[in-house]
Symmetry: C2
Subunit: 137 residues, 2 copies
Amino acid sequence: MTSDALVDALVRSTFQVVGVLTRIGAERDLSLTQLRVLGILRDRRPRMTELAAFLGLDKSTLSGLIDRAERRGLVARGKNPQDRRVVDVFLTPAGLELAEQVYGEVRRALTPATARLDPQDGDQLVQLLHTVLHSPD
Amino acid sequence: MTSDALVDALVRSTFQVVGVLTRIGAERDLSLTQLRVLGILRDRRPRMTELAAFLGLDKSTLSGLIDRAERRGLVARGKNPQDRRVVDVFLTPAGLELAEQVYGEVRRALTPATARLDPQDGDQLVQLLHTVLHSPD
DNA sequence: TATTGTTATACTCTATAACTATA
DNA sequence: TATAGTTATAGAGTATAACAATA
């Protein structure tokens, strides 16, 4: 069945990319989750609950995650003027710089692989991944 | 640059598949790593060091991982007759059954997504993923 | 009362360092 | 001496339950 082969290919490539992300993150003491937090916060300023939901984590887990990132000066908590229960999270300048650095390195690490495709095939792969995984289930 | 778009697409699809794997694993108290261990052991019987290297983990980390899986009756340790220092690891029947179950569920979970492609495009996606990530860096 | 977030607790995952047994 | 694996330790990641503040 073609579908099984496709699922297998997706799972295998997932673990491979996870390996790259984990290795690059580890060089800067960033777990996969912290890496993802930095990536998300590059262009968003969510409240704690939003970010936890987006990551698929419990809010208490996120509290700890943000505690540790805040202690390192990578993120900060801000008050929300509309609702005083709410805590907004955002990158500090140092966090933004680290995020850009690390994602730049991810690009460099994966470029030898992506460069194996000519531009046409690369576009096609982007398109196919988008169709498969970027749609409403 | 096309390459950046491709890397972004790979990273995004990676986090999405990780989300699916994490959710399905959690339903059976399996972390992403335990899930991967089960997947690998389906058709291999490696020694501890081999498995640790394959997973990119320290051998001490693997000891704990296998301890916990063994306590649950999913894997077992075996002696290696050639070298008495070596410990081989393999799935128990219960572990194999769980592995098949959980990977079956992963297939079912991803099938609605993969079914959005017609067979031709699916084959092409498998081929492209193979070219990008399954080659020597 | 319901929602937002934190804290206390317990467990898993992870690496480093020190160790035992075997080669 | 070198290699295979375990154990002790410490810290991060995770969820559940209980809590405080605000709505």
